[in-house]
Subunit: 604 residues, 2 copies
């Protein structure tokens, strides 16, 4: 039986009602699309996910990718994901027509990817990284490289990866040592080791195009000396045939989760015959890579939300089917003549379900907000508008990456708990989601790193003008919500939280201004938790407003249950999640120096 893993109505509500996708479709870039054609794209993606992704989820966990004699072997559905997914447009849908794309809004493409992630999170990454790598080549590489590599990547015949991490450097990209040596033939000779390369090898795609960060001889130290290269697994010869390019698959990391999505260790140039082609200009690699990293960060957030979605519906189904226990009557006793209650009737179970629903749908809306900003930036008609949406996107990216990942772990943890002992058993899927989602808080910059980015770069961006721009958007949503009597209390709470944010920043800022960045950033992760909840409180207020409009509309698209479910979940979020900001504010307003190393080591 096909179990539910995503609610298509909620996804469409987020796209069309909350984020006004139809307004976006009026822009010139999207003029050939309408709601019907996008719905068709989403429905065919759902059909593909139902048939080709969801049924293999458990199997891919139980038969993980493995390394043998210099190759990585992955589950056969990787082939289907790449080839059939490529045909469907999963890789290229949002690209320009002239680059082989369908020029659909990224926000709609993201909705499609969300469906795939929710169906089977072990598969979409193969296509997603190919999409990202192709995007980098399209944006920054010369025509020759574009012509040589992009077409086969968009059809999924060839895969793509991003190769950043090295064993000695981890997240510290300034310490990258992979070398690129100029040659007279125009290419560079690449040598070095890269680890944690997702989708780094497989037996199905004929070629894999690695986008590799490396240092050209004589380049400056640190991040300023990093260049970006196209390094194919096999290099195309003039006749179109392929010859090995001295890229070695050293190992495949065995993991806690996402075991079907291979994580490889790659060696470049062991035989001094690995050729790489410079993308754009020398020493600009990290700037280019950020295009892909922003997209990858949104994708990680999307995946976190989507896995939590699948876990939510699995636990909801259990709660709707499992009888256990009885309610206490007013004398504090149970009547054994009564039938057992379904566990969904117990408040504590309902709390764990609403918690999941709040995280899933709140983060679903957040992820799509980010890609809407991307589309609005892309189609902006003035520099000011472009700058506005670019700024809004940059502001929320660390939250978009982090909240769905961290709160996703929290949601899935509660989903597992709903099943009691069965949640811990391999026969039930919750334990797999619990393992799979754990990586999202690590991928593409850990939560700690995202938090440093949020507080260290984004909040201070343009002397706080980016934050101001974001707060203006939130204030507009508050005003909208206040038009609905029932929502006024929640709008007012969010207003207070914005004031609290400003108070917290007034406490923190002097450290930055004094140049004491260690103090300023010491509690960045706490600030992330604080700020994320407020941002998601905003997405819930928007959803509540749209749900209220739906309830008041005689021709509403969805049922009363649907809209009331949204409003009740908004209430849950404001009653149970947002109050946590009080604890965060207490920490941030009364900063401790206990985490800052002193002379004597007291962590022992």
């Amino acid at each position: 039986m096909m179990n539910k893993y995503v609610d298509m109505d909620t996804l469409k509500f987020v796209l069309y009602d909350v984020h006004n996708l139809e307004d976006l479709l009026k822009r010139e870039r999207f003029e050939e699309h309408d709601k019907e054609s996008l719905d068709l794209f989403l429905e065919s993606t759902k059909d593909f996910a139902d048939k080709e992704l969801y049924p293999y989820l458990k199997e891919m966990d139980e038969q993980p990718a493995y390394h043998k004699e210099g190759k990585v072997y992955v589950h056969e559905q990787v082939k289907t994901m790449m080839h059939k997914g490529g045909e469907l447009g999963i890789i290229s849908a949002s690209f320009d027509y002239e680059d082989g794309g369908m020029q659909i809004p990224l926000v709609a493409h993201t909705a499609a990817s969300y469906i795939l992630d929710a169906a089977n999170n072990h598969l979409p990454g193969y296509a997603g990284l190919t999409q990202g790598a192709a995007e980098l080549i399209i944006h920054f590489a010369n025509e020759k490289l574009k012509e040589t590599y992009v077409p086969d990547m968009l059809t999924g015949q060839w895969g793509g990866t991003m190769c950043l991490t090295e064993p000695q450097a981890g997240s510290s990209l300034s310490d990258i040592v992979t070398k690129a040596k100029r040659t007279e033939e125009g290419f560079y000779k690449i040598s070095g080791q890269k680890i944690f390369i997702s989708g780094g090898d497989n037996q199905f795609t004929e070629n894999i195009i690695h986008l590799v960060l490396a240092r050209i001889d004589g380049a400056p130290k640190g991040t300023k000396g990093i260049s970006l290269f196209v390094v194919p697994k096999n290099r195309p010869k003039a006749d179109g045939s392929l010859t090995p390019n001295d890229v070695t698959t050293v190992a495949d990391f065995q993991k806690l989760g996402q075991r079907g999505y291979c994580t490889t260790h790659l060696g470049f140039g062991d035989a001094d015959d690995c050729q790489g082609w410079l993308v754009g200009e020398e020493n600009q690699g990290l700037n280019y890579m950020f295009l892909m990293m922003n997209a990858a960060r949104i994708a990680v957030g999307r995946g976190g939300s989507a896995i939590a979605s699948a876990a939510y519906y699995a636990s909801l189904q259990y709660a709707n089917e499992r009888p256990q226990g009885r309610k206490l009557s007013s004398d504090g006793k149970k009547n054994m003549e009564d039938n057992q209650n379904l566990i969904i009737e117990h408040p504590d179970v309902r709390r764990m379900l609403l918690l999941q629903k709040a995280v899933v749908e709140g983060s679903m809306s957040l992820v799509h907000l980010a890609t809407k900003y991307y589309d609005l930036e892309l189609t902006a008609t003035s520099d000011q508008e472009k700058n506005k949406y670019n700024t809004l996107l940059e502001m929320i990216i660390p939250v978009v990456k982090t909240y769905p990942s961290e709160a996703g772990i929290y949601a899935v943890n509660n989903g597992l708990q709903v099943l009691g002992g069965y949640g811990f058993c391999s026969d039930f899927i919750l334990q797999q989601y619990y393992r799979d989602i754990r990586i999202n808080a690590i991928y593409e910059g850990t939560t700690g790193i995202q938090s440093q980015d949020l507080l260290g770069r984004k909040i201070t961006m343009g002397n706080g003008s980016g934050l101001q721009m974001l707060l203006t958007e939130i204030t507009i949503a508050i005003q909208e919500a206040k038009k609905h009597q029932e929502l006024i209390p929640y709008a007012s709470i969010l207003e207070e939280k914005i004031q609290l944010t400003q108070k917290v920043l007034q406490e923190l800022m002097p450290h930055a201004m004094k140049g004491d960045f260690e103090r300023y950033l010491a509690d960045a992760s706490i600030f992330m938790e604080f700020f994320s909840l407020i941002i998601v409180g905003w997405t819930w207020l928007e959803m509540g407003t749209k749900a209220h409009e739906g309830l008041n509309n005689n021709n509403a698209k969805y049922s009363n249950e649907f809209y009331i479910g949204k409003i009740e979940t908004l209430k849950y979020f404001y009653a149970y999640e947002l109050p946590k900001t009080l604890g965060h504010a207490e920490i941030l307003l009364n900063p401790s120096t206990v985490t800052i190393k002193k002379e004597l080591e007291y962590i022992n």
Copy 2:
């Protein structure tokens, strides 16, 4: 290489300095023991754990227990655990001399079990359940049953289990249907199915003694009609030989973690030849079982704390060895000429380490406090004293079970995060601890059930006199702490938290008094989070006081680093963990009814 998994100094500090074990040893029951003999017991346990438990941790995960042709096969170390552990006194140490025990304080026995849990959490349960089952027989069964079963259980030749859960009933013990039919021979014929039976079968112990809850024909419905039976896997014949007792091993559940600790499905009486012997009186089964359940709940808390301990030291070791990134200088830049810092120098990593240390040592102290209360009750010289310690123990049991389990998950999650991508890889042990510890919030009554027990039974016990007794103990600790200038701020915070607790209960109580138990208990899990933090804040204040005394003592047992580590961790707990109670109080003081089911189903 042997990696550190528990800090023996901290364990002894908790026993001797925080919980004054030497005072307890002055009591008559323990007069044959002294600090030296108990230290020897702990050291020999540590040696046993180093040699026979820790080295097999990973292997037991990778080669889980399995079911084949009606039998469960477990790792060979289970044999060593039972037999050598039995010899060492792991099963019987705290029992009376006359019952074959060593009559050591339970608090010391618990410290020994803590070491074993930290070394390899897949093994001690086999011995622990045998201990619990033997204890039930000793306390409540007749001499004949005692003589027949107990001696071989204490040596680990025979195992023991507790059989409560049934497929249709789960945690709802009132719905147990396993039958016991009186016979004229004195035994009962048992028939039914039990699931989730830990240690339910293995190929090494010659016999397994199941303590089974069942219903005698004609017994009242609900919990009032449950009786307790000794049901051996093999029944001893008059000549001492064993014959199968119609107990079938139906299956072994495959699980997320603790894969070496088998979880079985047992069938009783499929061939109508399963004999059981009544323990004590008819229909008193649940009352008897609670003796074992309280001990089991403490053991689950102990295990949570111990797994978190092992995870803490694994992540601490990594943080002390892994260089990555550089600190920002006052111009906000990094100097690439500097060496990379060890990650333990980064405040965010230090925060994640202190968080673990705070959870591990705070819950270690809490678990030993519970067993100290047990010992004080057991050796009380007046009814009043007995009642006092019984009450204090009952008050904290749900917290002792829950906090180390839930906060243990949180701690191990942070330990995994310290390792970044490596934390997700199977080559590192953190991912196993992350899986193993997840069961502790489910075992022996889920967190939801413990929370109902805390708020529904314990807080209201004796019209609140139990709570008053507990608050008196906390107030004494506050007064002690106030003697140290540096601790006054923390003592004052804890005072405020006690006032906040009373305010919260004033809000909640009217619902209970009106008989609206659904409302009263709807947020019991939030109350548990709130109350647990305050209880653990108390344990930290006590540890801080003792550490301060150590620092001021010229002949102190431990180094300054050791004591300062305790005080800094106290500061961490008060700066980062205790403020969460503000969020909880906000929830509890502004109760939402969103989790209480209304007519229209809005969770969809």
